[in-house]
Symmetry: D2
Subunit: 379 residues, 4 copies
């Protein structure tokens, strides 16, 4: 298929997430990076664009300049990835969607649920795509979990246990380091720190695999290092609309944990267990049966998992390939958009504005519940 | 040393916990089983006693008969293990303590915190020992955790993450099986099911390794199978008196989990992680350092862990040996009692009436909090 | 059942294996330790016997004294465990068997295959039992492997991969330590060091689970530390009489390995994988199927595994319990001997003189092959 | 930097390795795929080229046509990847090298050691690069092993234990499937099957991390399924020129193993253990010390490992990223070639013609030794 024209905003020199996007988008070769406003400093951004092979006329000083110029071109960008600081996501996403561009926004989509609701509406009106980068949902075996649950293999889901814990903000002596400090400052980070930053991925995963959304939650936030105003550890209980209880733990003080993203789902007919640390294996225990190990790459997996898999069994695909599945989905959908065809229904599993909206609602409700000593709070 | 005279109440034919006690007490050869009232049915109990080599004159029809007869003997029992149904623990423990016997009671020590408080008092007055069988605390590496924390290796403890989850009550079709049903019937089980039965071990471990006790808690109970009145899944947040937050999950519907008892402790200076499934390894991550694997049996462990270890490194000791450490501690203490010597201070780490009391308080507070939608409840 | 009278030779103060025997024999309570010659120093041995509760008249100064006195008693020992230095095993086993005692000899049974052949013959003539302590074969899941293979679940066995590797003799500075040095001295250790000491367990396991014996082998021995004359690392390829190839690695220089005993068996219809480090799980992969995890304690295991299991699922039983299964088998067989009944056929799986014989043949053939640059050597 | 012009031969529709190359080369964006002869069928190859966005004038019917046309262009290819059937590698690599192209050849580089020696010579004369795709050496933690060993952290290397085992050719009923059968047919596969195909990766890894090459070997080949003429299981012992013993097992009948590539290295001062199944962790045990877990992405790793790492710690990078490191190295070297600069010395660690040569020598020697019943054979 013809390459899709791709642009980026943010993600320049020194960015951690920028290279991950370029690796993931580049991996399948569907996207050609042909425009960008990579940096808050216009000159540095243009130089960086050059270093990536972007031609000078499409290397922009800022996103407004990029929006104006790209809107006027015939060879319009098929997709704009937004990887700027969180507080700017709403404004930029909104502007590009209103101008008729497809957008992939880094999470969080916005800083409030109301803003996210607006983006959902604007997206609907625009007929364009607004993806949000909850990239862990691209792992083939996470999609396998979703497929098995949708297929009824687990029966009614009773319980979801989700974790995203690390220890990289545990050093009290590092707490004043600006790179860390802003995350726990309400003025910059909003109402939640570690749940909004890390735990929200586990939340998205719980919704994604179960196909359910929360109706209410009770949250306990703890600030365990120095005088942090926002939480560096949180435990949240959810009731989901399909009847599942979800228990989610997230932490930034769990020394020895390496972004331990884990997901266990227990239903009437069996249980599933997956951990990002070993993403190639999924443990499935049918009720009263033996635990089975499902291997990524095996031919007897669901068609969703097979589609999301590129490399022979026994060779770890890794997180960049999981992210690449989001870009692969987008390529399918954008190509269908170009040609007027229906996209592959399996390509519609990528996280979208609606997911960004639910995330913001969960963050707001959790912060509110935590302030009220864990009172159950409706979403 | 001379063998200690040992008797059992309960734990007869068909009991699961009875053999474990005999294996654990027998393992080091400190105890000689010489009396017992093993069964609710006197004849069956006496026959069972005979099968264990107990002489006919000390094979009793019930505990009252045993109490009377043994109280009158010169070669008194040094220790009485109580492994009867939960509701009888209080009465029997109390009677034997008051008669001047040392007691090892299966958990729970009592059915209420008030009863447990009485047992604590009676024990103090008697000058005898009342142990409670939170046997997992006998694992050498659990004692290593306690020793490292007491030694300040982790600095101030910030967070404890404890789990005890299994899936053996997940089958809705089995929910009416009498063997399962009574556990979820308030008339027989009291105010809590899975927390009182399984999770309480994780609670004891959290207190044991941290050296702290809870000041308040917030509990969420869920009944996920059929029409159970008591919880088969629970999440509890604690505040501990040394400043630690403790998050404890317990479940009986987690299909695929095999009594997964795990304990993670995170402090200012590092984190520890241990799981009963692989009890011979303890992961220790110093802040900003690499994770190290401490092996049970290694000579560089704490003296508490070395003392609790019998078998060369690389050979799993297992749970019966962990339980045997409780009996080994008791043998030390009872021998000191006999001779008037001071016992080895390290022998005093076995779980005692005080631990049984804290467990009952936690169960009552958790049940109360759960009923009040998770309201924070003082202990 | 009545307790069996048990005596020990060797295994006194400072012995590593002595306590393991007492723990394992004591665990089920079938055996009563009532006689012993525990030490090369008669006085120290008698004192040690006293510390174990052995009465003074059966605390012996040496094994000859013990043989004479015990032969004359009416309450004869039902079993004599021999845990003396290797070079004495043959003489002592022989003498006790010829006097009509049942024997459990620590491995190696003898120093040569010819001696072992004699013991096999003497045992047959005596009608008594001669067990050899390849205790790892007592693990329930190892017996499960044997049962599944005997049952044809794997079809014809093609390949066995066995390992027993540790790093406890890797320190060149420790090589002259007498505790280590004798093991690599042909005058004291014979023709093989690490294979005869450690690897031989893996060899026994390969034979035990497959039900096959070797017909020829090719061995590569390496001496990797200092000027050792005997091997501290070995790789041996076997051809087994049922058509299986067996590849066995053993090492004493594998720093970081903790007695890593592992066994993988591959047949026409599937593969099995077990490791002593995590002895409670057995991985079974049917051909073209998913890997299943068999848990020790599960009710759907073979009757052999169920019989060898004491503790509820999810609680590691450990190596002492595996060893205790050897003693449990012996108790069954010796009780049948007493009563003239047929023992439970499942009780006959304990390692016997014949196994000791095959081990000595394998050691001699391996040493011979290694000297001949790995020439294939018949057994 | 400017993109490098890249072409492929082979790797078209239905190829397994073709997509892996495109994913890995595409991932960092250094290479632009601008020419190719993708298929033995010219039309199908040209169509496939079009589907990848290759312009019609550089979509070739076969490699000879491609060689002629590309040799004449000013915008010459910077790199040609050869992913054709094994028997053609020598001829094509040779032709392109002689015409002054840089080459990345899939393994094996040739079908004989003599041919490989020629390619080494031709490469030297040409001044160009000839890489061979032993891509597993691109894993950051494999490079960490190499760096630690080069740095002397392990002291003198005593022993290397390498494995590459799978069970994907274990089904006797599948043995006649043409997709499998050719691999065991000497006419098509040469003198070795599973060692040449799979085990050779483990061989390269052993050489790569140790910095040593073999001086002699002894091999045992087994054909365990049906009437295969070539081996489907092999055990090889090597002596390396730096004094290390290397023991290598490879299998295609190990049901339940998923391409289990593992590497353990034991030296005077410690041991390293790595397994491809969990490529993000490296276990390092200093002599007489505790095992430490080195995490990919940690900042305290060697500069080689840091350079080869793209994604934050705790997120598996996977095999495509490991392969991408080979392309990253090549990009560094080819850019230096363009500009006349010295390349980063760390970029020279990618596998080269010399590695392909040693592999062929090892295969020939192993096949020869196996035929001679494992006779030690010089390389």
């Amino acid at each position: 298929m013809t390459k899709l024209n791709w642009g980026m905003i943010g993600g320049g020199a020194g960015s951690q997430i920028g290279p991950t996007h370029r690796i993931s988008a580049g991996l399948d070769g569907h996207f050609l990076l042909c425009a960008g406003a990579f940096d808050i400093d216009p000159d540095r951004g243009k130089a960086f664009a050059g270093s990536l092979g972007v031609s000078a006329d499409r290397a922009y000083g800022d996103w407004r300049e990029m929006l104006a110029a790209e809107s006027a071109r015939d060879d319009r960008l098929d997709l704009v990835t937004i990887a700027t600081p969180n507080a700017t996501h709403y404004e930029i996403s909104r502007a590009f969607l209103e101008a008729g561009f497809n957008v992939l926004c880094e999470k969080p989509l916005t800083m409030t649920a109301n803003e996210a609701r607006e983006i959902v509406e604007i997206t609907k009106e625009s007929g364009k795509v607004c993806a949000v980068n909850y990239g862990y949902s691209g792992y083939p075996l996470v999609r396998q979990m979703r497929a098995m649950i949708a297929n009824g293999d687990l029966g009614k889901i009773r319980l979801i246990k989700a974790e995203f814990a690390h220890g990289f903000h545990a050093d009290a002596e590092e707490a004043d380091n600006p790179r860390v400090r802003w995350r726990y400052d309400p003025a910059q980070a909003g109402t939640s720190a570690v749940f909004a930053d890390a735990g929200i991925h586990a939340f998205h995963m719980a919704c994604f695999v179960s196909g359910q959304t929360p109706t209410e939650l009770s949250a306990d936030f703890a600030s365990l290092v120095g005088d942090r105003q926002l939480e560096d550890d949180a435990m949240i209980n959810f009731h989901f609309n399909g009847g599942a209880v979800c228990r989610l733990w997230t932490s930034a003080v769990a020394v020895g944990r390496m972004h331990g993203l884990t997901l266990q789902v227990f239903g009437e007919k069996g249980g599933l267990s997956w951990q990002q640390q070993h993403p190639e294996q999924l443990h499935w225990t049918p009720l009263n049966g033996r635990t089975q190990i499902l291997e990524r790459g095996d031919s007897d997996l669901s068609e969703q998992a097979v589609r999301a898999s590129r490399i022979p069994i026994g060779h770890a695909e890794g997180m960049p390939v999981a992210f690449a599945n989001i870009y692969m989905d987008l390529a399918d959908v954008l190509n269908a958009q170009r040609t007027g065809a229906k996209p592959d229904p399996m390509a519609l599993d990528f996280p979208q504005a609606e997911d960004g909206y639910w995330s913001m609602r969960a963050i707001e409700a959790a912060a509110s519940s935590a302030k009220a000593n864990g009172a159950w709070t409706k979403l």
